[in-house]
Amino acid sequence: MASTAVPVTTRRDTGRKPGGSLGQTIILHIVLIIGAIIMVFPFIWMILTSFKDISQTFVIPPKWIPDPWVWENYPNSLQALPFGRAYFNSFYISVIVVGVSLLTASMAAYAFAKITFRGREVLFLLFLATMMVPYQVTIIPLFLIMKQLGWVDTHLSIIVPGALFNAFAVFMLRQFIRGIPKEMEEAATIDGCSRWRIYWQIILPLLVPAMSALGIFLFLGSWNSFFYPLIFLNNPELFTVPLMLNQFRGQYTVDWTLLMAGSAIAVIPVLIVYLIGQRKIIEGITLTGLTGR
């Protein structure tokens, strides 16, 4: 090939590359917009329905815009079941789970990343292996343990496992801490700092970006968690938001306006967290493949 031909071809080629011709780009946008509408539509329909009068939900063809706007669906659904209480429960449980698990997981991650001790590799492999165990497989013995401890029908049954066991968080933070240069610690060691002070004053501040992404995920996971609360909690006073919504669905089977208001109440805090933290969430996923479920 003639040496002059190469740059010409390349230039023409890169010029064409982003999405092809204008027509193609427009078609692509149309397809993607239709897709986006499908993705978001259930949320829109939920919100619209939550403001309708119940008679409007049994009309064919469907009425899109509420007429009149029935704001009372929200206070009504809040009163129908103790949603306020469930909110409080979900919120405080999630905050404790996120706080404590970030602390314990980062501590373990620090030891796995920076301290040499006998059995480290084996122990770390054990942590990795438990990530493979689906939580439904261990649910029966876990239930029996909770019964032994007297924690069934208390929030401890949800908080303690969440706060003290998260192999994934340990794994992710360990990878992150391994990237911190050795020199940062060595200076502190020479100054006579204890391991705890190195962790607390040097490592932890450097972990803030990683832990904020992880924290959002742990929060979403805890807020949305359904299986454990379903099995460990019976007293409606102790219910979390998903459990309460499930209860609600059982009692108001066809009252779609109240059900959609209830769903909106359950979803809105999560969507707010998502909209605020979406860049961190998506970057976090991209880096680690972590998931909130």
Partner: protein, 310 residues
């Protein structure tokens, strides 16, 4: 130490310090790992071993537990419920995993190098952060056979009579799988997008210069270079699909009949409705074995199709 008259007296204190440093490091490691280790032992490892043990007993949660050997497993394999649960779970896996991954790849390819990527990503990802119960309740209404908006418009716009999804035993699992695709699309797409960023544009250009058309570039450059991502997502998606439960529990209670009775539902029902912990543990062990076997097979088979760059 100080009384020693041997020539290596000078190194002794140093060695002593090293030893104590090692001991103190081990102690620190115990302190640092302790909380998570207790959690791991108490909430994962011990329950896992107990699940194996319980599967060999006929315990009902009260009174004596009697060792019954493999009887629970024999009963499981003789029970039609197990096969119903396996079949329903399989329907979910077969629809939601390939459907979800192919769709996610297409969207990711569309979004790669396009203006407005961030806003599209924001919208497509929204369902991922939403909890299973809210998703179920909203879709319950969307898929309602009489007043659901999907069936209504399919009829009036296109003249298509769609099935009454959630009360039709042939369509309830496909419906739950479609919801699953919608729910997980954003996650798979984001991971694919990250994978696509790692496919060097220079390679695609080189292929194009060599005269490959877009489809050929896709088949022979993009797909192989993306295979580690696809592999990761396939493993996660299949494991996740075997755990489907919440939607079936909230929307249909496993019904109509047993048409959405999944493997986890099978474990759940025998344990927490029938209180036959032994039998249920056997079902849980079977579920675990299936997940392990499928994952091991994928790890083995990856050599044939997953391409790692050296």
């Amino acid at each position: 130490m100080a009384v020693s008259t041997r020539p290596d007296v000078q190194t002794a204190p140093v060695r002593g310090r090293q030893v104590s440093r090692q001991t103190s490091d081990t102690l620190w490691a115990i302190v640092f790992i302790g909380p998570q280790l207790i959690g791991l032992l108490l909430f994962s490892l011990f329950p896992l071993l107990s699940a194996f043990y319980l599967s060999l007993t006929n315990w009902d949660g009260f009174g004596n537990r009697t060792f019954v050997g493999v009887q629970n497993f024999v009963e499981q394999f003789q029970s039609p419920d197990l096969y119903t649960a396996l079949w329903n779970t399989l329907i979910y896996t077969v629809i939601s995993v390939p459907g979800g991954l192919i769709l996610a790849l297409l969207v990711a390819m569309g979004l790669n190098n396009i203006r407005g990527k961030t806003i599209y990503r924001l919208l497509y990802f929204m369902p991922v952060v939403t909890g299973s119960v809210a998703v179920s309740v909203v879709w319950l209404y969307l898929l309602n056979g009489d007043f659901g908006i999907i069936n209504t418009y399919a009829q009036s716009w296109f003249g298509i009579t769609l099935p009454n999804w959630l009360v039709d035993d042939r369509f309830v699992m496909p419906a739950i799988a479609i919801i699953g695709i919608w729910w997980g699309l954003g996650y798979n797409m984001v991971i694919f997008l990250a994978g696509l960023q790692n496919v060097p544009a220079s390679l695609m250009e080189a292929a194009q210069i060599d005269g490959a058309n877009k489809l050929q570039v896709f088949r022979n450059v993009t797909i192989p270079l993306l295979s580690p991502t696809t592999f990761f997502l396939t493993i996660t998606a299949i494991i996740g699909s075997f755990q489907v439960f919440d939607q079936a529990y909230v929307m249909t209670g496993g019904g109509p009949g047993k048409a959405s009775y999944t493997m986890v539902f099978h474990v759940f029902k025998q344990a927490f409705i029938d209180f036959t912990f032994g039998k249920s543990s056997a079902a849980a062990v079977i579920l675990f074995a299936i997940i392990l076997a499928v994952t091991a097979f994928q790890l083995f088979a990856q050599r044939r199709w997953v391409h790692y760059e050296d």
